[in-house]
């Protein structure tokens, strides 16, 4: 009787091939397949509109050289409604990741092969030292209302949202200049389709950063906004001030800036694809009603710029509907009833058996991806208690903490053997994956743990608790926000037991989420608990290894100092290893040469490998996706990671529903 599921390597991404793909991205890229003069096809619903004269013919709607997307498995059929579920307006990432359009996107024809592709631009070029990038739009690219998408829209974005007060300045546009302050990106429009950006320092990671984030307007596009529409709501530009008045009163707001958003988040009632059905977009589907309504409906964009290999204009699917729910039990029942066509969000691996047992009745399949995350414990080396701070910053102490944990038992007991016992490190399939790092301090050896603590001079007191250098018993608390019923509570109970057994007085501090945020931001935490994620393309988002992501508070105050945040800061001593980490990151960011850059970054990771600060327990969780049996062009086996945009990785526009 085999109790454990044998773990296949769902992802085998040889470091070489990825480096190759990403290397190709760094060099000037133009579309591999030059646009052929194909006859284009379109969805029947659009064809009827063309016939009645309400819509221009497809050849006039898409660019002269549309993006050609190779379907993952087969050429699809038009039609259908894709049913999903969400929690309401705060749950925007579900719908958003389905439609995001960045200038450069991830391209993953197979799970082993992740690269970059030009999306609504036809090509991008960079100069030798990566301080200057030039982008060229596809000719004939249009917004969803038929208006031309030109560099006028780019200039508008630059003036009003980047430099202006409406938006924000993402750090990968606004690099640190030579004098240590952030320098704005310079933008120059070359012609109707081409623009150039310049940086104060080399920015070789720009393409990857663009692929992982829209950098401002949620949903995209990158570096552009529909100027012909938005100008109507800016007093200086509008031809009709009454429009602004009307918008303000409908939404109960007082200033025109608020229409666009608050604090630069660009999530206001005007211009944000999610809340403004009238906003022109270039996404495959656009909002047809408000997310406060149930269901929230998205409909196809007739001017979408991509076709498949046979010239069919994408997307295949006509409509997406999101039904609203509060309690996840209802969502689970919907899945069992076959009311969900394809979704991964809110689908819990803990209910795997339940989903599988209802597969036949519900007419769906459970597909597994792997999450690029490891459950992690973060001892805070900036602890207010100097004794704890010092102990946590001592590698032998951390090693003892790490090897005292019985990861196999956690995996078996809490996660049904579905996870992988491992250290918090890049996952299999990542270019930075290192099996040695994965195994570093991941064995279960309480004897050695005890020996290490003895060596540090931490003797046990009369009650079995070790005495610290200040003569007090070593006591600390694990801070987490898991609620009753979540597997995390069980895992924390086990960890508490393991650490007690090596003579530490450990207890749990369970707080509500927002309180957890507050506490970690202030550094008022002994050991924080958060998944160490973004471990697929680590170089795209290395915050966890830099200490700048607060919810994994292994060095929150150092991190604040580094990112010059307004939260509480603490400057690290000059000889602290974190300085070396940061120094390597600076160099990585500005190293134009691919091979040297990767080598530098590897050194950074290796510092963590030497003596990890983030103690991982189990990871690479199965990320289940429910797909209806009618749903086509979805494949299992990919990495689910925020950096890769979760299911956005395999281009939702090429999904289809069999009739």
């Amino acid at each position: 009787m085999d109790k454990k599921l044998s773990r296949r390597n769902f992802l085998r991404l040889a470091a070489g091939s990825t480096a190759g793909a990403l290397a190709a991205a760094a060099a000037p890229v133009s579309l591999a397949a030059p646009a052929k003069q194909m006859t284009y096809n379109e969805a029947p619903s659009l064809a009827s509109l063309v016939a009645s004269g309400d819509l221009p013919p497809v050849a006039e709607r898409i660019p002269a050289n549309p993006r050609v997307i190779t379907p993952l498995i087969e050429v699809g059929q038009y039609g259908g409604t894709w049913r999903r579920a969400f929690r309401g307006i705060s749950d925007r990432w579900g719908p958003t990741k389905l439609v995001e359009e960045m200038a450069i996107e991830w391209d993953a024809p197979t799970p082993e092969d992740v690269g970059l592709a030009a999306n609504y631009i036809s090509e991008w070029q960079q100069n030798e030292d990566a301080t200057e990038f030039t982008f060229t739009l596809r000719e004939g690219l249009k917004w969803s209302d038929g208006d031309d998408f030109t560099t006028e829209d780019v200039q508008f974005w630059y003036d009003w949202m980047y430099l202006g007060e409406l938006g924000s300045k993402p750090t990968f546009y606004t690099l640190l200049g030579p004098d240590g302050t952030r320098v704005d990106m310079e933008l120059e429009v070359v012609d109707e389709l081409t623009w150039t950006v310049r940086f104060a320092a080399p920015n070789p990671l720009l393409p990857i950063n663009i692929a992982k984030s829209t950098g401002g307007l949620p949903g995209g596009p990158t570096m552009a906004a529909p100027s012909h529409y938005l100008r109507n709501f800016i007093p200086d530009l509008t031809d009709d001030p009454s429009l602004i008045e009307e918008a303000l009163s409908t939404n109960g707001l007082s200033t025109w800036q608020e229409l666009f958003g608050t604090g630069g988040d660009l999530q206001g009632p005007i211009g944000y694809w999610f809340r403004d059905p009238n906003a022109p977009v270039i996404t495959a589907w656009k909002a047809a009603n408000q997310p406060t309504q149930d269901p929230f409906i998205m409909e196809r964009n007739p001017y979408y710029h991509a076709v498949d290999t046979e010239g069919n204009q994408l997307p295949y699917i006509d409509r997406i509907e999101h039904a609203l729910f509060d309690d996840v039990a209802v969502f689970d029942l919907w899945i069992a009833q076959g009311r969900i066509d394809m979704q991964g969000r809110h689908v819990s691996a803990a209910n795997f058996t339940f989903y599988k047992e209802n597969e036949e009745a519900g007419g769906y399949t459970v597909n597994l991806w792997r999450a690029a995350s490891t459950n992690g414990l973060h001892p805070n080396i900036n602890n207010d208690n100097p004794v704890l701070a010092q102990l946590f910053d001592t590698p032998q102490f951390r090693e003892a903490l790490s090897i005292a944990i019985n990861r196999e038992e956690i995996n078996d007991l809490v996660y049904n053997g579905l996870y992988t016992p491992r250290q918090a490190s890049p996952v299999k399939g990542s270019p930075q994956y290192d099996p040695e790092f994965e195994a570093r301090w991941a064995e279960y050896d309480p004897d050695r743990a005890n020996a290490l603590l003895d060596e540090l001079g931490l003797e046990r007191g009369p009650d079995g608790i070790r005495i610290g250098p200040d003569g007090q018993p070593i006591t600390f608390r694990i801070l987490h926000r898991y609620t009753t019923g979540e597997p995390g509570t069980d895992e924390m109970q086990l960890v508490e037991n393991y650490w007690r057994e090596i003579g530490l007085s450990v207890s749990q501090d369970v707080v509500e989420r927002s309180l957890y945020e507050e506490r970690v931001q202030n550094g008022q935490v002994d050991v924080g608990v958060w998944g160490v994620d973004r471990n697929s393309i680590v170089i795209a988002d290395p915050g966890r290894y830099l200490g700048t992501i607060d919810d994994g508070p292994w060095a929150p105050l150092f991190g604040h100092w580094y990112s010059n945040s307004s939260y509480r800061q603490l400057e690290p001593p000059a000889d602290h290893p974190i300085r070396e980490i940061w120094r390597l990151w600076e160099q990585t960011q500005t190293e134009p040469d691919e091979a040297r850059r990767n080598a530098l970054f590897q050194q950074l990771i290796d510092i963590h490998k030497e003596h990890p600060w983030q103690i991982g327990t189990v990871g690479e969780a199965p990320a289940p996706f429910i797909t209806s049996n009618r749903f086509g062009n979805f494949m299992a086996g990919y990495i689910a990671d925020d950096t890769l945009r979760d299911s956005g990785l395999i281009v939702p526009a090429q999904f289809f529903l069999r009739s």
Binding site: S90, G263, V330, L333, R513, S514, E518, Y567
Partner: protein
């Protein structure tokens, strides 16, 4: 009588004012505010918000100001009919509540009707046949409904609806009727979804009412005038319903005041589990995320309904029973 009404009216207004203060305060009680909750949920989704942005939002929403100023701004808005913006939904509070009001009232009203239609006759029966098998059985049934934790019952019934009846569970309508225009089929579909909430909420409510009815009836049944009527030859059934029941119903009038807001309040947990489009889940969500204007508005609304309900039932009771007026 008029003096009585005026006095009660003044008290009612003062109470409502006090409630508004308390509502506002209790929503703010938990540590943090909407933005900390918002930042936390963002973090959970792998999103992050820069501290500068957070500060800007905090200023825009006025969350940094002392609480009495926030309260004054809010209450002055409320008195003008402006309930503010929900920070989580980014929509005017009034429209959010209004959208769900229809269904809330409908479900509550059906439940009240169901409860009363069931509880009153059963209470009467129980009282007249005290200690009989029937009495025990109905009392037991009522108590059973009261004893089973609502959320558990809702979940189990939903599961039964799905696995045994193959129903389309969750929410008030099956997906094909969700946005369709009203028709007989849609109405029947709604009924088929309504049985679970009615059963769950209704059974909890009937127990108390059965007991009260029974106790009131028992008080009356042993009174001399009932004996008299019986001696005079009035048939038992007619006798019971004509005299003691009407007197026993009097105290009911005083419970009417609490019936509506209790039902709205009590429905909250069940509505969350069953995914009903009512005000309840909205309130729960807003309390958990400290969306103060939305939560404050709903709490105020429920409280006002209670106060008005109590006022109405007090007046009604005073009209029916002159002794109360002398209080």
């Amino acid at each position: 009588m008029l003096q009585f009404i005026i006095r009660r009216l003044i008290y009612a207004v003062a109470t409502m004012f006090a409630i508004s203060v308390v509502s506002f305060v209790i929503i703010q009680l938990p540590p943090g505010d909407f933005l900390t909750s918002y930042a936390a949920s963002l973090a959970q989704q792998g999103d992050a918000i820069a501290p500068e942005q957070l500060e800007a939002l905090r200023e825009a929403y006025g969350l940094g100001q002392p609480i009495y100023i926030q309260y004054l701004k809010w209450i002055s808005g409320v008195l003008r009919g402006d309930f503010g913006q929900s920070m989580e939904w980014r929509a005017p509070v009034s429209s959010l509540i209004w959208d769900r009001m229809g269904f809330t009232v409908m479900i509550s009203a059906s439940t009240i009707l169901f409860v009363w239609a069931f509880a009153i006759p059963v209470g009467v029966y129980s009282a007249t046949k005290q200690y009989s098998i029937g009495d025990y059985f109905f009392t037991f049934l009522g108590f059973l409904g009261l004893a089973i934790p609502n959320f558990m019952l809702a979940l189990v019934l939903m599961w039964i609806g799905f696995s045994v009846f193959g129903q389309n569970v969750g929410g008030l309508f099956s997906p094909e009727f969700e946005n369709a225009p009203w028709s007989l089929a849609k109405f029947l579909d709604m009924l088929s979804h309504l049985w679970i909430p009615l059963l769950v909420i209704g059974t909890a409510g009937t127990a108390g009412l059965i007991r009260t009815m029974r106790a009131n009836m028992l008080d009356e049944i042993n009174q001399p005038y009932v004996e008299t009527a019986r001696a005079k030859g009035l048939k038992e059934g007619r006798l019971i319903w004509k005299y003691p029941v009407r007197v026993a119903l009097n105290p009911f009038v005083s419970t009417v005041g609490y019936a509506l807001p209790e039902l709205v309040s009590g429905v909250i947990i069940v509505a969350v589990v069953l995914n009903l489009p009512t005000v309840g889940p909205l309130l729960l969500r807003s309390l958990l995320s400290q969306d103060m204007f939305l939560a404050g508005a709903i709490v105020l609304l429920i409280s006002i309904m209670t106060v008005i309900g109590t006022l109405l039932s007090d007046i009604l009771l005073a009209w029916l029973d002159p002794r109360i007026r002398l209080d």
